[in-house]
């Protein structure tokens, strides 16, 4: 199990050092600093073995988090724990920075004592932790409160406490997708997938039971079979095939496995209900058509056309096209039909920004790149052209069919809950080779 947990700043100075096991000595703190943080070479692996001690590290802005062990631990668990640790810290004091870590070091030690016992991760849901690890010192709790805390921390529904009350029961549901694409210069899709998240904010009283439904092909087909044929064919068209999905720990997995229904008691506030991945019938919002021509040894002509491929009534936003340029670029002349374009020498790229673009439109940029003559025999690697954008629909085609809330004990019904649904499609790694 985890033998020790250290947090360093970018210089390698220790901000937090907590040792859980006797086999991790003080020198481990220095070993990691010397061999990884101060190493001359780029880090080649997130797991490093230094003098028979294994270190796992992640970096958040300028802060390094490292876990050390001398045993054959579950590596996946250690990384998941480190991420969780970051989540917990963010939930308590916002961004993880050197300053914030220093300002909250007492709190962090308290948290580390609670969420990691002898190197075994314990309940690390911020919602639960906040009930008894507070920055205000200890509140005098009544006996009921105490046992409520402990039963929540150890209980089946560790992510929600009892007795939550809201005057207005509200639910916000965001379907956030990122489209990933790798396209060949000839316009052939090499790989494309959507990784989506269903993010919720729930402000509900009591211990509500929720049920979430979407146009999952398996569910629709099943219902189609049960209902009339006509109906099945119709809805079948709109359904999507989900390659795989994962759920927040509040979702009853065995129920999903047997009935494919998503039911859960939600945590209070923000959480990510599910993640999913699709690869079939993806709507690719933009098509990038590159044209690169080398004119002699000192000049490049680049033309890039982008086409928007969605309903004309919808608007894409924050469109950004990054066209890489060779290292020996000396000057760039740009002409674009829409938006603004700029050559950024520091990034070795032309950045073309368009604020808004409606569907079924087309726009283009042409650039003349002048090159310095070099002796470098090595050819320019031609990195792919990448793109960023935001669209107000789900490129996977996912639709929320229902989100039902039942709270039998309290006096409100599904109809009383105000529900908000939003679809946001974003670019993930959206690249076209040129």
């Amino acid at each position: 199990m985890i033998g020790g947990l250290f947090i360093y700043n970018h210089k390698g100075e220790v901000l937090i050092s907590r040792v859980y096991r006797d086999d991790i000595g003080r020198n481990a703190v220095d070993a990691f600093r010397v061999s990884v943080i101060h190493a001359r070479h780029q880090v080649r692996s997130p797991v490093s073995n230094i003098a028979r001690t294994s270190f796992f590290h992640v970096k958040r802005s300028n802060v390094w988090l490292a876990a050390a062990t001398r045993q054959n631990v579950n590596a996946c668990m250690v990384f998941e724990f480190l991420y969780k640790m970051c989540d917990v810290m963010t939930a308590y004091f916002g961004k993880i920075s050197e300053e914030n870590v220093k300002n909250n070091f007492v709190l962090i030690y308290e948290l580390l004592d609670e969420i990691l016992d002898f190197g075994y991760p314990q309940n690390s849901e911020p919602g639960a932790l906040k009930t008894f690890i507070t920055q205000q010192g200890v509140k005098s709790q009544s006996k009921e409160e105490q046992s409520q805390i402990t039963s929540q921390v150890t209980g089946q529904i560790g992510w929600r406490r009892e007795g939550i009350k809201y005057r207005r029961n509200e639910l916000f549901l965001d379907v956030m997708e990122s489209v990933n694409l790798l396209m060949s210069p000839q316009g052939q899709v090499l790989s494309a997938h959507v990784s989506g998240r269903v993010v919720m904010k729930s402000y509900l009283s009591g211990m509500p039971e929720c049920k979430f439904g979407m146009n999952d092909k398996i569910v629709i087909d099943k219902q189609g079979k049960a209902g009339s044929n006509d109906d099945g064919a119709k809805s079948g068209k709109q359904s999507i095939a989900i390659d795989d999905c994962t759920f927040h720990q509040c979702v009853r997995l065995s129920k999903f496995d047997s009935e494919r229904s998503i039911s859960f008691i939600p945590p209070d506030g923000d959480y990510e209900l599910m993640r999913y991945r699709t690869t079939k019938d993806i709507i690719l919002p933009f098509r990038v058509i590159p044209l690169v021509r080398e004119v002699g040894r000192t000049k490049l002509e680049v033309k890039v056309v982008i086409k928007s491929n969605f309903k004309a009534s919808l608007l894409a936003q924050k469109i950004e096209v990054m066209i890489p340029t060779p290292l020996n670029t000396s000057g760039v002349q740009l002409i674009c039909m829409k938006g603004k374009a700029k050559y950024k020498a520091s990034e070795n790229a032309i950045v073309w920004k368009v604020k808004r673009m409606a569907g079924m439109k087309e726009s283009q940029i042409s650039a003349e790149i002048e090159l310095l003559p070099t002796n470098d025999k090595k050819k320019w690697a031609r990195p792919p052209i990448s793109m960023n954008f935001e669209v107000p629909f789900a490129p996977s085609g996912l639709k929320v069919r229902y989100l039902k809330v039942f709270e039998p004990k309290l006096n409100y019904s599904d109809h009383d809950v105000i529900k908000w649904v939003r679809y946001i499609g974003k670019s993930g790694i959206y690249e076209t080779r040129c």
Binding site: F105, D243, E431
Partner: protein
Amino acid sequence: MTDSKYFTTTKKGEIFELKAELNSDKKEKKKEAVKKVIASMTVGKDVSALFPDVVNCMQTDNLELKKLVYLYLMNYAKSQPDMAIMAVNTFVKDCEDLNPLIRALAVRTMGCIRVDKITEYLCEPLRKCLKDEDPYVRKTAAVCVAKLHDINAQLVEDQGFLDTLKDLISDSNPMVVANAVAALSEIAESHPNSNLLDLNPQTINKLLTALNECTEWGQIFILDCLANYSPRDDRESQSICERVTPRLSHANSAVVLSAVKVLMKFMEMLPKDLDYYGTLLKKLAPPLVTLLSAEPELQYVALRNINLIVQRRPEILKHEMKVFFVKYNDPIYVKLEKLDIMIRLASQANIAQVLAELKEYATEVDVDFVRKAVRAIGRCAIKVEQSAERCVSTLLDLIQTKVNYVVQEAIVVIKDIFRKYPNKYESVIATLCEHLESLDEPEARAAMIWIVGEYAERIDNADELLESFLEGFHDESTQVQLQLLTAIVKLFLKKPTETQELVQQVLSLATQDSDNPDLRDRGYIYWRLLSTDPVAAKEVVLAEKPLISEETDLIEPTLLEELICHIGTLASVYHKPPSAFVEGSRGVQHKRLTSSAGSGESVESPDTGSAAVSEAPPTVIPSQGDLLGDLLNLDLTPPTSTGPPPTTAPGMQLGAMDLLGGGLDSLIGDESEPPPIPLRTDTPQSPQPPHQSPSPPHYSPTEVAPGNHTGSLGGDIGGSPAMGTGFGAPPAAMPASFNAPISGGLDDLFDLGGGGGLTMGTYIPPKSVWLPAMKAKGLEISGTFVRRSGVIQMEMTLNNKAMSVMSDFAIQFNRNSFGLAPAGPLQILTPISPNQSIEAALPLSTVGPVMKMEPLNNLQVAVKNNIDVFYFSCQYPISMLFLEDGKMERQVFLATWKDIPNENESQFQIKDCHLNSDAASNKLQGSNIFTIAKRTVEGQDMLYQSMKLTNGIWVLAELRVQAGNPNYTISLKCRAPEVSQCVFQNYETVLKN
């Protein structure tokens, strides 16, 4: 006010100031001071001098302050054990507190203070806390048992905490269950043989129930524990799998991967034709792919594991090639791992896509990545035959880029392609030669030289090219020097007229001007070979090379099996067994996959997906380390314990010296007829030592076939690194070396045939394991010895526990006390597929070379198959050697008994034997121990017995049996008293069975 100010105090006299503040009356000031102390502790300052002052602050109602003091205590208690006692009272009091959070805090902290005296006080509170009404306290106490066990294991056992911990597995609270499981698993690891985690269907059921209810971390503990369970049958296995599969949709990757581990392991138990088996395979792919959209660090762990999974069950991800395509912004460690998996998944169906990708990668920036991509193209060519041509043209395109390291890497892999497809792509040699000057890395230079030497007859200016390298001969690395030497010798053999000068030059450079013994040895051998018999030289140097195999980079099957049991853990990330990086007793246990009992259905690699296996039987070439180890054994070990049979391999024993001397002389000595090529030896009566040694592996390196992945080009002459390739290909002439014993053995067999009929009641010892699979790359041999109708037989069961097919078996014995030798080759005609076992009976003769062994009946055996050579030793019952005509005449017996001096007599006791004298006599007769006379004196039966060993030694015995006394006395007389001990042991085993 912020806390960061505590980090910035660096004045002198700080400790003194802190001391004052700690003793201040104001609570706030005290707290501030403790914070400062902790901050100093964090940055590595020694604040242990403040121990008493800090501990004084412990008595407080302020929980935050209390926690800080505890933190300090955990850090420094060990250095101040006496003072730490001051804290005990507070702990004990806190363990009784009304607030469960305080109780848990106290017990949690106490367990972290590794001071014996404190530990003593911990026991009582811990016992209470383990039974606390509050689950939060119980779950903390459960972990505390593991802490205490780490400090003082004996104490935990004495206090009976382990039983309490076991009870907690049935606790009503899922988190308590999870922590108890975690604690028990850890304790069980340091007691490998204890039955601590007594997993049975009931507990498994409890765990599976808790699995649905506990936190994500708890689920991981439980799944990891489940993976250690061996289900009783395939039904149980399936029902566990069914209850574990929902975990594959968990958001926590560790839960997913641990579930994958359980499924991968239990799948072994399921029959392949079961519908559920197919369903399960399909269910595994999506979650594995999803892991690749996690954070990069997790992707890395996932990819390392997928690498293992793909090797074990290629069918799971065979359609998912695209997800392993490298993204431009992937961190380098993710890129390199993806590349590895792409090659593993490459097949005829997807090769076009893969090649296009690889070509793209070869233009990227990171040098390591580009090199690996180029190498990958070569590996594809070797793996997918249909793609070879495209791969070669892609490599040529890359060479045209003139990027130095790309060109060098391309040449190295093209050499491998030449080896795999000889006489197919030589047209590209001209292009390669253009880049000769730009090569500056030894591996690339050596590869290029190998190509020039190998195809010298097709390259017009081969001599000029090689000569150009010769100028700086002494500045080259050994690898290049060795290669150059061989290449020039090859050239000379192909174009003798114009290159005589060149060859002499290189031979003198290698033999006279070099300090490197390998180089000198090789030089001398070539020199002698060329000067005595060029024809033989040609046969040796230009002999056909074994083909290289695609699967050289597969993980060795037994290791792979072990790593599959460690999916998700560090072992799977390092691709090393835990014992390689974990100290102490932990992790030393080797985990193995248990497959279903039925041998027919459990044959590995179902026809669906094992493209790699079916296309070409993979020859797993052991890593260089192993090889070297084996070689050392082979060459240097004197025939004591498990050494090789020296009689049949004197060439090996003496190494290169012998080869140079007797070996070569006898090879070339007979001038009337062309000397036989060692590789093709089939003259059974051939007296020359090298012919009897399993020669092919030792001679093939002379051709200097650049090892595919062994990295050493050609290696050394006469039995060295290139051994990998030698063993990789089944040497056709192998059995020849066993022909010699056959003829003699057969004669002997007929001789003995007349000896006597089948005697009933012969005692046959049960089979025991002689060679465990762990030691022999998956080959397990168990066996016994039998004497039937005067013929000694070694009966063996060969069990293939590896993943690949085993074939080309051969066996040899070391010299032994009674000259036991195989009377014929080992008759295993069909290759043994994975998980199959074969019975083999090997008739033995007793006319082999003799050497006294210790113990006398010890037999050292070498078994070879297509994978490697393995050694083991076993002991045969000496009754195997008792002849059927061992009954002595009465008179002769008396005379002999008197004749043998008394000091040759030895007496033994056989205890607990409940046979009467007649039954004993009958029983012994079954083992060719004959009773000649029986006398009864004062109720005591005296049996006079005789037996005759195959080498003509007579053993006389007097067995005294007293009615009602289970202890027999036996006196043995023999001219060779050494055998007495063995004979006595034999009496004992025969009489007691």
